[in-house]
Structures are given as structure tokens and as C-alpha cells.
């Protein structure tokens, strides 16, 4: 029987690979594949070889290998413990094994024992695990603080990933059995939460009682902090709960061959125990698995239609973000609609609460001499959040035409010009990203105090004018950033549809790289005139009106230029939307 199931797996894999190769006849996939291979080589393979040849060290991470190994083992084991905890606490009343709808339809009525089906799932997962181990090995080859060899890392990843897979499967089956035995979800969660909570409370208590205070010393980097953190975590009851995880990550972290082989034995024993546990559980998982398969199929359909939201629960009716009166500007109706479809915390009240908290907390932190590292961290964090929001935010906040393309036939019947629909679509992600940027700027402006950053030119006037200028620039910058992916969706709808598939091979990865590079290039070209003009304005006027006023004047000039670019972009995209013929673009 396992032969038939293996045939199903291998034939499916073979056909998948063949279909991927065949679709390279289409230029969009061929170009994507070439770019994807190039990107993969430059990102992983080239670095893989160079990092093997010349290992380096990050500043502050150059600790003796044995110290860092223990730290990594503790955090790795902690991560595995958290995964295991979630596996036991989070599943609903009847967690099933992950079969596809087709597998459930064909295999469940077939004369196959439950144990064979479990074997099928466990062995079938190995293909994915092996591939994942290979990718993770390439990624971890860039971790300069890691000792060991690529082969030991690959085997180490395989052990860890296999253990996670087996534990998740075993937990799902055991919970199914507990449910059959009458143990309720609430009872199970209470027990799991009680055990984990007790362990965490004991650890916190012991740390509070016995741990020495962490002091910042000259030359100490983040590595020192991690070592301190690991030592505090690895105490009390948690120390014992971390033991299985440490055994599993030990082969991956082994420094030499001897260490590796001595670590591999216990890890394999633990893996074997998991395997025996999984295949010996006798429980009926079919009904829950069918429900799970239907849920997964619905999720896949949502991903394909562009309506999938990560971690989204079943939709719930919500209060409106603001009162939508009619008649009025129709673009605001799109803002209203799309805000309703986002997370409830994207609300002006939440934003105002965050702003008040920042205004109260950050200046207080700045005034405390002992909390100087925290203030520096806030500065760095705010700068990172700003850059992340501006550069990657448009890829994450997609409550615009990209998600509304599925409804394009409805949108096209609306009595609105194309630019109005495009603008209406852009308002929600622009508002969300602007809100985040403003919060980050507020935190940075409060933390950039002369006591924290002693720069003579950073006068209160410059701080205020620079902060206000950046705040004024945030909305047009966000809209401009959002115009690019929306333009990609409208100008290259077939490419855009392809990139919405999850995973999908190196050709789709290449397509995403092309979109990412295109976004960056377009932004550089769009910002270049504004930046040049701003530089000239500041250079000429700062001698006449002072630096703060020159900054404000330059900002206003930049806003005018960006507004012009946005207007052109909206007009052009609106025209594209009116002429868009999805039925023709998406024909296979």
C-alpha cells in the first residue's frame, strides 16, 4: 500500500516539476526563472562559498564559539518549546492531519489502514523537509557566528524540522484521541497554559531573586546581552523543559565532527521516539482532516483571489471607522470600505492612544540617565520602523486595487472615473502607512535629545522643523510608493496574478525580485528631481533664512513636485484601469 502512496507522491512531484519546466515557454516565467536563479546565486550560493572560505564576525558577536553555542542552544530549545506549546494549546476541538481535499476524497474511502495513512503523511513530509533543510542550510551559511560544517548544518536542520513535523503530527493525533475521550478544548488549554505558565513564573521568580543586574560595559555588543539573556532563561523548571530541545539542536550547533556524532545519537533517539509515538496512536482523524482540507482549500482560493489575510479569523461585523454620509466624495467610500476590511486596531483612536503614550513615555525615558541604552534603542528602532514602513509597507498593506482586482467587474460598473477608483483604493494603505510613519517620527523626535545624541547642529529648531517636514512628506511618499505596485498590477496584470501564488518555484521568485527591483528603481527616479530641487533650495536659502526655515521651504517644494508626480500617476493609472480588460489579460 505504501508503494501506491509513494507513487502518488513521486508522480505528483514529477508532474509538478514538468509543468514548471513547460511553463518556461512563456516569457514571463522564463525571464522570472533567469532572474530568480541569478538572485539565488548572488544571495545564497556565492555567499555560501565565500563565507566558507573566509569566515568573519559581526561586531560584538565575536565570542568564544563554546559560549555562543550554549546561548544558541538555549534559544533554539526555547523556540522548539514554544512551538510544542502552541501545538498543544492552539488547535481547535478536532485537529486533523493535513490532507488535501483530493487526498481525502481518494484515500479515505480506499482500503488503506489509518496507520498507513499516518505513514503516508509522515514520509510524504520528508520531501518538503529535505528541501527546507537545504534552503535553511544556505541561509544559515550566512550566519558568521555559527561554527560547524555545511553537511552537519544540513543534517542538523533535517533533525530539527523532522522533529517539529513529528511532534505537530503526534500532538494533533493525541488531541484527537483526547477529544474522543471527552477532554474539552478549555480543559486542555487550561492544563497546557497552567504548566507553561508555572514554568515561566518559576523562572521569572528565580531570575528576579538570583540574577545579577545586566550592566552595559564599554565595547560590549548585542552578543553579551544575548548570553546574559540565555543564562537567565536556562534556570529552574525551564532548564529541564529545555533539555529535549537542546538535544535536538545539538547536531546543528556541533563545532566539530566528534561533537556532531556524539550529539547525533541522542537526537536520533528522540526523533525515533517521536516516530513510534506518532505511528502507534490509534485515533479517528478523518472527519477533522476533511474539515481541515476544506479550510486549506478555501485559504488557497482566497490567496488566488487576493482576499487572503495572514492569521485572519472568520470575518466579524465591525463598527464603521467613521460615518459615511451620502452624497459626498466617492473616494472616501473606498477608504471607509477598505478600513472596515483591515484589522480593528487600524483606527484613529488606537493611533491617538499610541501617540499619547509615546509623548508621555519617551521624554521620561530620555530624562533617566540609567535608561540611555533604551533611548538609543528607541531612536534606532524608530529609524528602522520608518525605513521598513516606507520600503516594505506597500507590499504588506494591500487594501487597494491589488486586493480589489477580484471585484474589478463590479468596480467597472461604478459611475466613477478611473482615477477616482485608483485614488479611493490608495487611501486606506496610504493612511495606515502614514499613521505608522508619524508614530515612528514622533518617537524618534522625542528620543533625539542632546542628552542622547550630542550633535551641536541638532538644535531644538532643527529637530522641530525636520520632524514636521518629514511628517509632511510622509503622506505623498506613501502614496507614491503605493502607486508603483498598483501600476504593476494594472500594467502587467498577468505577471501580477502569477506573483500572487504562494511558493511556486524559482521563476515566480524571480518575478517577485523583478517587481521589487522595479519598485526601487521607479522610486529612485521619482524622488530624484525632488531631492535635487530640495538640495538646491536648502543650499541657496539657508544663508538667508536659516537652516530650519530652509528645510521647511525645501519640504514644501518637494511636496509640490511629489503632488505633481502623484497626479500624473493617478491620471495615467485611472486611464489604464478604464482600459483594463481583465478577461483578455488573464486568459490562459
Amino acid at each position: 500500500m505504501l508503494g501506491a502512496l509513494l507513487y502518488l507522491r513521486l508522480t505528483s512531484l514529477q508532474n509538478l516539476l514538468l509543468s514548471r519546466v513547460r511553463r518556461l515557454k512563456q516569457p514571463k516565467y522564463l525571464i522570472g526563472a533567469i532572474v530568480g536563479v541569478g538572485w539565488f546565486y548572488l544571495t545564497f550560493l556565492r555567499r555560501f562559498y565565500t563565507s566558507r572560505a573566509a569566515p568573519g564576525g559581526l561586531p560584538g558577536m565575536t565570542l568564544p564559539p563554546i559560549d555562543l553555542t550554549a546561548t544558541l542552544a538555549t534559544f533554539g530549545a526555547l523556540a522548539l518549546l514554544l512551538i510544542a506549546t502552541f501545538a498543544w494549546a492552539l488547535p481547535n476541538d478536532k485537529p486533523g492531519l493535513a490532507f488535501t481535499e483530493a487526498e481525502a476524497a481518494f484515500l479515505f474511502p480506499a482500503p488503506i489502514s489509518r496507520r498507513s495513512l499516518v505513514h503516508f503523511k509522515v514520509l510524504g513530509a520528508q520531501l518538503r523537509i529535505l528541501f527546507s533543510a537545504l534552503i535553511f542550510t544556505l541561509i544559515s551559511s550566512r550566519w558568521s557566528f555559527l561554527s560547524g560544517h555545511a553537511v552537519t548544518h544540513a543534517i542538523g536542520w533535517w533533525v530539527v524540522l523532522s522533529a517539529i513535523n513529528l511532534h505537530l503530527t503526534g500532538a494533533a493525533l493525541t488531541i484527537s484521541r483526547l477529544v474522543e475521550g471527552g477532554v474539552s478544548v478549555a480543559r486542555r488549554r487550561t492544563i497546557v497554559a497552567g504548566v507553561v505558565g508555572l514554568a515561566a513564573a518559576l523562572t521569572l521568580w528565580m531570575t528576579w531573586r538570583h540574577a545579577p543586574a545586566f550592566t552595559v560595559q564599554d565595547g560590549a555588543g548585542p552578543g553579551t546581552f544575548f548570553v546574559y539573556g540565555a543564562q537567565q532563561v536556562d534556570t529552574g523548571l525551564l532548564h529541564w523543559l529545555l533539555v529535549p530541545g537542546k538535544l535536538l539542536v545539538a547536531p546543528f550547533l556541533a563545532v566539530g565532527a566528534r561533537d556532531f556524532f556524539s550529539a547525533l545519537g541522542p537526537a536520533l533517539l528522540l526523533l525515533g521516539a517521536h516516530y513510534v509515538w506518532v505511528v502507534r496512536i490509534e485515533t479517528s482523524f478523518e472527519e477533522a482532516s476533511i474539515a481541515l482540507a476544506e479550510k486549506r482549500a478555501a485559504r488557497v482560493a482566497q490567496i488566488r483571489s487576493g482576499t487572503y489575510r495572514l492569521g485572519a479569523d472568520k470575518p466579524k461585523a465591525r463598527r464603521e471607522p467613521f460615518r459615511l454620509r451620502s452624497p459626498g466624495r466617492p473616494e472616501l467610500a473606498f477608504l471607509w470600505k477598505n478600513l472596515l476590511s483591515t484589522r480593528p486596531y487600524f483606527h484613529w483612536r488606537v493611533w491617538a492612544g499610541c501617540a499619547v503614550t509615546i509623548l508621555a513615555a519617551v521624554p521620561w525615558i530620555v530624562r533617566q540617565p540609567d535608561l540611555k541604552p533604551v533611548a538609543i534603542f528607541i531612536c534606532g528602532g524608530a529609524a528602522f520602523l520608518s525605513a521598513y514602513t516606507l520600503l516594505l509597507g506597500p507590499q504588506l498593506a494591500r487594501q487597494d486595487l491589488r486586493s480589489d482586482l477580484a471585484h474589478s467587474d463590479i468596480l467597472k460598473t461604478y459611475p466613477l472615473a478611473g482615477w477616482q477608483i485608483v485614488l479611493g483604493g490608495l487611501l486606506t494603505p496610504a493612511a495606515i502607512l502614514t499613521g505608522l510613519l508619524w508614530l515612528a517620527l514622533l518617537a524618534a523626535a522625542c528620543a533625539l535629545d542632546p542628552r542622547i545624541v550630542p550633535l551641536p547642529w541638532l538644535t531644538p529648531g532643527v529637530r522641530l522643523s525636520a520632524g514636521l517636514s518629514l511628517a509632511l512628506l510622509a503622506p505623498p511618499l506613501c502614496v507614491l510608493q503605493l502607486l508603483v505596485p498598483n501600476a504593476a498590477a494594472l500594467v502587467f496584470p498577468a505577471w501580477f496574478q502569477a506573483t500572487r501564488q504562494r511558493g511556486g518555484g524559482i521563476d515566480l521568485m524571480g518575478q517577485r525580485v523583478i517587481f521589487g527591483l522595479g519598485q526601487m528603481l521607479t522610486m529612485v527616479l521619482a524622488l530624484l528631481p525632488a531631492v535635487l530641487v530640495a538640495g538646491v533650495v536648502i543650499f541657496i536659502t539657508q544663508w538667508l533664512i536659516g537652516l530650519p526655515a530652509a528645510v521647511v521651504l525645501a519640504t514644501l517644494t518637494v511636496i509640490v513636485i511629489l503632488a505633481g508626480e502623484i497626479w500624473c500617476g493617478l491620471w495615467w493609472l485611472g486611464d489604464r484601469f478604464e482600459k483594463l480588460d481583465l478577461s483578455a489579460e488573464l486568459r490562459p
Binding site: P330, K337, T413, Y414
Partner: protein, 243 residues
Amino acid sequence: MIEVLALCKRYGDFPAVTDLSFSAQPGEVLGLVGPNGAGKTTTLRCLAGIIPATSGGIRIAGHDLTKDPVAAKRALAFFSDEPRLFDYLTVRQHLNFVARVYGVAAHEAIAQPLLAELEIADKADELPGALSRGMKQKLAIACGLLHGPSVMFFDEPLTGLDPLGIRRMKDSILKRARAGATIVLSSHLLHLLEEVCSHVLILKQGRKIAHGTLAEVSAQFSNGETNVSLEEIFIRATGGSEN
């Protein structure tokens, strides 16, 4: 009213609709029939301004759909076979949104009786996920009717409805037609179209085979026989095959 002149729609080299001309007057219910791939949905989508025509002219309520699409669309409503609703908007919020988009003032006064007529008033605060298929379709209809369109397009409106739903949909279409709306609908359910439509337009491979009142089209293909059903006319007109 609807006026279509030499409408053509091509997908690359493939002609989906070729040289289609017809008109439909207020109060008329025009049934668009044809085998699979005849171009019914493409025609409806072109008429509703969802997809651009390759060539030809379309006038909706006197407005040129190409030159003045906003004015033309203000007069029409399109109902697809599958109700396309926003997952995170309740029934009431859907109507609120549509009212703003179409600029309907004091829409509550229109929405409430509309919801009552469609028997979904008690679901006003429910999300689409909590509605049955029939109720979703009713919500889509309520959204389409809110701005009082004078031209309506129905693409397979009876798909997935139970017998009671079919009866109500037919009554609703006839009621709007009696009120002066121009209605075009496509369906494969010929015996049901026979009960609703005053006119029929038969398409095959994107070309018009016949157009006129039921009696006129019947006379064209009945060969002197009486009481020939629309199904029989359809088979004779199209030759009984897709090609």
C-alpha cells in the same frame, strides 16, 4: 434604453462578438440566448462597461458608453451570476457604500423598503459569510437597485436559486420592467426565459442569429408550425450545436 451598433469584441485573434447591433426599449425584457461560447457574457460585460469593446457603439439611456462612461454607468446596474460581495461589509454597510459611490442622497429611505421587499431586512447587520447563497444574491440585487437604474443586465440570474427564489427573481424582473426599466438577461433556462422575456436575441459564435419579440423569432423559425417552444426555436436557430 439600450442601443448597440456594430459591436465587436476580440480576444487577441479570437472574435468573441462580431458586428452585433440591436436596441432595447424601456419596459422591454430582452433574453440573450445562445450555446456555450456564443458570446453572451462578453456582450453583457461590454454593455455594462466592464470590458471595453474592440469597436462599435453602445448607448445606455442616451449616454455613449465610450465617450461618457460615468453618465452611462449611473443609469445601469449589472448583476453577475455569482454575487460578488465584500467579505467585511455587512448588508447595511454594503448599501451605505454603494449609496456613496452612486451619490444616492438619503439612501436609508430607499434601502429599508428594498431590504424588506427582498426579505433580508432582518439580516442588515450580518456579513456575507453568514448569508445563504440566495440571500447574497438578494443583497447584490439590493445594491444594484439602490440608485434606481433604468437599464439592468442580469447574467444567469437564476443560477443556484431554489424554486421559490426563481419565482421571486422572475417577479422582481417583471416588476422593474413594468416600472419602465430596460432589462437584458442571459440564461440557459429557456422555459423560464419564455415566461419573463418580451424579446429574445439569439447569438451563435458571437454573431446575431435572430432578434425580435418572441412571436417574431418564433415565426422566423417555426416553419409554419404553431406553439413552438423557445427551446425548439433555439435548437433550430443554432443548429443544435456549439459550432
